[in-house]
Amino acid sequence: MEFTPLLVGAAVGGGAGLVDREEAKLAHSQLIYRVGGLVASLWAQHKGIGPANVAPAAVSAFAANTASRATALFLKGELHEFGMTGHPPRLALPTAAGATSRPGLASPTAAGDVWVRQSRTPEVQHLTNTTQAGMAGCPCGQKH
């Protein structure tokens, strides 16, 4: 068994995860990394650049990562978010803290419930609802 293709696949996937973590710093970084990497690896395979088993492994890895994200978003009607979101909605699962999943999947809603937006940038919490801000105070230090 050759381990070089596995190392290439792991590196490509690890890079995709790291790009997602840093996604806020570069718009469409997912699109650039995944689709760009796929095109580049296909080109390398076509031209025979590098060791024989490296480019095909990179093609498989980029194809898997690109297809996974695109498929998940497409099936949820959010393909337009490809290249913009931080990570597949797989991570938006029911949690021990009580949060439920994305709307439309398993979230019974009721008037008065609270929706929380998650940002890809770890900024201070910011209350946009004036009633809540007035009652609890906004952690950004300003009154709204």
Partner: protein, 128 residues
């Protein structure tokens, strides 16, 4: 041009996306459905490679695809991410709560990746 690496890798990825969308999200298999699928793909490829029952292209396509997807989750969310932890978990530093809004209606706002939180479990700063 050999298209098999592309096709096999894409098949693994499409399957991962389908599992992400349609597989149950509760219970042991639901919580860990990502790594279970990825591990199954990898093991199937390894089995095919070791026994010779699958073509080398398909074997490595399965192994590389499964391993790559697992590494993506690992790089993003660490061990909890690879094992299927949640976005709201503190284990995901890239995701921080930045806005809390009580909607006027029961319809969810058109945000990216909103997460619904029940009033009794919302963060202390939003509890009012």
């Amino acid at each position: 041009m050999d298209w098999k690496p592309l096709i096999y890798g894409a098949l693994v990825g499409v399957g991962d996306g389908v599992v992400d969308r349609y597989a149950p999200t509760t219970g042991f298999f639901g919580r860990h459905r990502g790594i279970l699928y990825q591990g199954a793909a990898f093991l199937a490829g390894a089995w095919g490679e070791l026994t010779g029952n699958l073509s080398p292209d398909l074997s490595y396509g399965l192994m590389v695809g499964g391993l790559s997807l697992a590494m993506e989750d690992l790089a993003y969310g660490g061990i909890p991410g690879a094992l299927g932890a949640t976005a709201y978990s503190p284990a995901y530093p890239p995701y921080a709560l930045t806005e809390v809004v009580t909607p006027a209606s029961v319809e969810p706002p058109a945000w990216h990746r909103p997460v619904y939180i029940r009033p009794d479990t919302q963060p202390a700063t939003a509890a009012g």
